[in-house]
């Protein structure tokens, strides 16, 4: 066994994953295999026993952490008075302050509850510009807030906010209006934290005194990973592929350690003292950055490296990384599901694996200066390893990032050294400090300019669908071949690799080509409608796109739900988008999609309506086909799949904007062999009656219940006509319209076999081959 720590970590992670997908059968099978191996290989029984325990530990710690719940959950959605202590420096965001609070006392209806729990408070600003309260870590505060339980993953490709907060030991959040916050006093958070936060506050003060706002924010972002940068600057960094310098990572720890190491060398400090000083600096940095996994990881690895020097042993990156992984994951196993942990560990792992092989290739290029080769090798190695993960999370790939990083990383090093030097000197002799800050100003300017220039280039990023599992295996296989870890220089290995690779590629493409069943996903877009249709031959249709109401401000349903869902389904372009009717909760999401994802054609009703006419003009200008849909149209979608437009007639006249537009929603019946789906938009009783009067075929297996289950729709006659086996109500959680109406729900319960509600079940996926129908929902 070459690296037992790595194997233990891998098996431990496997246990956590099995806990998450809740598969105890696999756990039992794997345990039996491991115990069987003990009997087979008696001389290695200790190591298999260790594996067996790692698997079980991973599984059970996973289960324990997944099932942890807030002690405040009995007060969900209630307004309460809370007293507690701010335990970390608050983070100021665009429209709110994020603050971690340890509660002491909760008052509800005159009753006191003494509950101690860490919660995340979102203090929303009274007016949009800026807040006028000032709180800091250590403060005891009292405020009114509404207790909320964070949401789990509700849509395909959606963000699992609940798991994310669980990794921070937070199980409930509070919405707080800033006017209710009262600061009562201040209390110590313990000596270590008090001092660390104190030093941090002083550093920030020095930064703010000496640098302009943009530069200061950037430096704070780089040193502490606080993301309160101006949005446009932030976007520039993201688009030019260097956003990672704004999130504290191993790179930052590397610079910090090199800096400290350099100083200790100048001051001729002896080896053991060096180790002590660096340990203290690392501990300080871990505390001020809030104990982010990436910083802890890099610190542990640095420490192991220095330790290996002291006891003169060969440092092994993979084993050091594995030990760091175990130390971080055992108390907090759910971290493996967060993007930051995955990126940090994979970046480190692939730098260890691929740095030297890539450098070897690069140095073969003539006139390649070694320094540039080394820098390029680091960036390329990190990027190759994190590529599948970053596409999975962010759906895009920065092509120019090796170049931008080549320019940025050395600048970042110089920038950090001058700035940290500036901060240190400023406290001793302000004059030299000021001079260093003055110099740093030029580098800031240069960094910002690079970001601005490269983000302005078109085609700097590529949108890519996530890897399939086989695609991922092929990718890793090829990487290992290129890096020479699979020795294709040996004839036999070359032949076998070639055969395996060809088989994988063939399987990959046949899987992509095999027709799959029809899949319709009714997304949870809060109050609103949206459904994605994927046909067996990969035709994709979107019916409505949801949309947040006006008061939700800058939030976009397309960013939150639609695009992640589409990308996670590997949909890169839409063949047809249908807007049932021009109301925000159906259409706004689609307006947001234009320009974000290629759309072949948009289907709208054939009715003269100002807002729609403007929209049509706009999309025509962008080269998107417009199809006007009227009653009687039949669209052939795919083999054996067609859609019939049942309503509205063309040229209807709108009198009452709200009601008439609802009633003029496009109603579509989709048929696939023996199964049929009815999409009804927001039609009300009037249109329902017209459909029955005209003797339209409205019989369907799956009904999207009209108008979010409102009582103005779903008349008994209509439902009797449809006779749906499955009814789906697309409705927002605790919406202002009291949708769905309980009577409608009751009626549906009498008629259909199953009812799904997006507010309770999350997104609902209906899968059919034209005969059988299967339903899967995202929340249990």
């Amino acid at each position: 066994m070459r690296r037992p720590l790595f194997n233990i970590l891998a098996i431990y992670i496997l246990g956590i994953i099995l806990a998450k997908i809740h598969n105890y059968i696999l756990i039992i099978i794997l345990s039996i295999i491991l115990l069987g191996l003990i009997l087979l290989y008696r001389n290695k029984k200790l190591i298999f026993l260790l594996f067996f325990f790692s698997l079980l530990t991973g599984y059970f710690t996973g289960i324990i952490h997944i099932n942890r719940e807030s002690n405040l959950s009995f007060l969900e959605n209630q307004k309460v008075l809370i007293q507690g202590q701010v335990i970390q420096p608050p983070l100021i965001k665009e429209d709110k302050i994020e603050v971690y609070i340890r509660t002491d006392k909760i008052v509800k209806d005159g009753k006191d509850y003494l509950i101690e729990e860490k919660v995340l408070g979102n203090i929303y600003f009274y007016d949009e510009s800026k807040s006028n309260i000032s709180i800091s870590e250590g403060n005891i505060i009292r405020f009114q807030g509404r207790i909320k339980l964070p949401k789990e993953k509700r849509n395909p490709g959606g963000f699992d906010y609940s798991t994310y907060l669980k990794t921070k030991n937070v199980y409930s959040t509070l919405s707080i209006g800033e006017e209710s916050v009262e600061v009562l006093g201040k209390k110590s958070l313990g000596m270590v934290r008090d001092n660390a936060f104190n030093i941090k506050a002083n550093i920030i003060k020095v930064i703010e005194e000496n640098l302009s706002k943009d530069h200061g924010d950037l430096l704070k972002g780089i040193i502490f990973g606080e993301k309160d940068l101006d949005n446009s600057i932030r976007d520039n960094f993201v688009d030019s592929g260097i956003a990672h310098i704004l999130a504290v990572s191993g790179l930052h720890v590397g610079f910090l350690v090199s800096f400290v190491y350099f100083i200790t060398k100048i001051l001729r400090i002896s080896n053991p003292f060096k180790l002590i000083i660096i340990t203290m600096v690392l501990a300080f940095y871990i505390v001020v950055t809030g104990g982010v996994a990436s910083v802890i990881r890099a610190s542990i690895m640095t420490w192991i490296y220095l330790f290996s020097r002291v006891i003169s042993k060969k440092y092994d990156g993979i084993s050091a990384l594995s030990l760091a992984g175990l130390i971080i994951l055992i108390p907090n196993p759910l971290l493996i599901f967060t993007a930051s942990f995955q990126l940090s560990f994979l970046a480190a792992f692939s730098i260890i694996l691929f740095y030297s092989p890539i450098l070897e290739y690069l140095l073969k290029i003539r006139f390649m200066p070694p320094v540039i080769g080394q820098l390029l090798a680091v960036t390329l190695a990190a990027q190759l390893g994190t590529l599948p993960i970053s596409i999975f999370h962010f759906h895009q790939l920065s092509i120019i990032s090796p170049i931008t990083n080549l320019l940025i990383i050395p600048s970042l090093g110089i920038l950090l050294i001058t700035s940290i030097g500036g901060i240190c000197f400023y406290l001793l002799t302000p004059f030299i400090g000021k001079y260093l800050f003055f110099l740093a100003g030029f580098i800031f300017q240069w960094v910002l300019k690079i970001a601005e220039f490269f983000s302005s280039l078109s085609y700097s990023t590529l949108s890519l669908p996530p890897f399939t599992i086989i695609g991922l295996i092929i990718y890793i296989f090829v990487l290992f071949i290129i890096a020479n870890y699979i020795p294709i220089g040996i004839k036999k290995v070359k032949r076998i690799s070639f055969i395996v690779l060809s088989i994988l590629v063939i399987i990959h493409f046949t899987i992509l080509l095999i027709p799959r069943p029809l899949k319709i996903t009714y997304l949870d877009v809060n109050q609103g409608d949206s459904a994605i249709i994927e046909t067996p031959n990969k035709i994709t249709i979107l019916i409505d796109g949801g949309g947040y109401p006006e008061y939700q401000g800058k939030r976009k349903i397309s960013k939150d739900v639609l695009l992640p869902a589409l990308y996670s389904k590997r949909i890169n372009s839409l063949d047809l988008v249908i807007i049932s009717h021009p109301h925000d909760d159906h259409m706004k999401g689609i307006e947001e999609l234009i320009g974000e994802i290629p759309i072949e054609a948009i289907g709208v009703f054939d009715i003269d309506y100002k807002y729609m006419n403007d929209f049509i003009e706009e999309i025509r200008r962008r080269g998107i086909k417009v199809i006007k849909l009227t009653e009687g149209n039949i669209i052939k979608v795919d083999k054996n799949i067609s859609m019939e437009v049942l309503s509205p007639k063309s040229n209807a006249i709108i009198v009452d904007e709200q009601k008439d537009i609802n009633n003029l929603s496009i109603v579509i019946r989709l048929d696939y062999n023996n199964s049929s789906f009815l999409f009804t938009g927001d039609i009300q009783e009037e249109t329902e009656n017209t459909l029955i009067d005209m003797e339209k075929n409205i019989k369907a297996d799956v009904l999207k219940v009209p108008h979010h289950g409102s009582d103005t729709s779903s008349s008994e006659v209509f439902l009797a006509g449809v006779r749906p086996r499955i009814s789906i109500i697309s409705v927002g959680e605790s919406n202002n319209f009291n949708h769905p109406n309980p009577d409608v729900v009751k009626l549906l319960e009498d008629i259909s076999i199953r009812i799904y509600r997006t507010d309770k079940d999350g997104a609902v996926e209906v899968i059919t081959n034209g005969d059988w129908i299967r339903v899967r929902h995202y929340i249990n």
Partner: protein, 242 residues
């Protein structure tokens, strides 16, 4: 070794595996099962089939079945076996074991050596004796490389591994830069058998790291044969070229 030392060794080896990199080119090892990368595996001069029947060197002189040395000199052992030739790569391997403290490499290669011994039609071996270091040298280095190699051998040859039976009584300088004659003089009377009783009538396997001129093995063989041993074989990792 005490249990505590053993645990310490396991922990140290887990965090700082000594076979994490290729011994020769320092490339990271991942899928390899040996301490060398696939490419360096081919660079080591592994000893093949046609060898000197006496010392196991890959060299045959004229129409005999022996190497030049064994043709003209009489040795105090029966037969010997070696894993690879002491070339540039071979030297690097031995240095890694001795001077980098890579005990695991010694054990792994010892294991290989043991498997090779099994294929030979040798008499049953009663005990395995590593060529000892002088206590001063062993304290300085922290371990005896021959002992580690012998430990590897015991994985496939289940004879008792005996320490402190063959002992070094004289602290001799390094053999490296000496000629054959000087080596013989240097090593003379450096060994002795502690308990003659245990040796009488036994078939013994001597284990050492390198065999160049054979003076060390010869001297040990002489002491053992004088003590009444039945037969002496030897096994080394590296054997010199002519």
């Amino acid at each position: 070794m005490s249990t505590f030392d053993e645990i310490k060794e396991i922990l140290r080896e887990s965090l700082f595996p000594s076979d994490g990199q290729c011994v020769l080119c320092k490339r990271l090892l991942i899928f390899e099962r040996s301490p060398f990368c696939f490419y360096c595996m081919g660079k080591v001069h592994w000893i093949g089939e046609s060898v000197c029947e006496k010392c196991g060197k890959e060299e045959i002189y004229g129409h005999t079945r022996l190497c030049l040395d064994c043709n003209y000199n009489i040795h105090n052992y029966h037969q010997g076996i070696a894993l690879f030739t002491y070339t540039r790569e071979g030297k690097k391997i031995i240095q890694d074991i001795k001077f980098q403290g890579n005990k695991k490499l010694g054990r792994d290669l010892g294991d290989k050596l043991g498997q090779k011994i099994k294929t030979k039609n040798w008499d049953e071996i009663h005990m395995i004796l590593p060529v000892p270091l002088h206590p001063n040298r062993e304290r300085e280095r922290g371990f005896n490389q021959s002992w580690e190699i012998a430990r590897g051998i015991t994985k496939s040859i289940s004879s008792p591994l005996v320490n402190n039976l063959l002992i070094r009584v004289r602290d001799t300088p390094h053999q490296t830069d000496l000629t054959k004659r000087e080596r013989e003089r240097n090593i003379k009377n450096a060994f002795s058998v502690k308990d003659q009783q245990l040796v009488v009538g036994k078939t013994i396997l001597l284990v050492d790291d390198v065999y160049t001129t054979g003076s060390t093995i010869n001297e040990c063989g002489k002491v053992l044969m004088d003590g009444g041993a039945e037969k002496v074989y030897f096994a080394v990792l590296a054997i010199g070229q002519r």
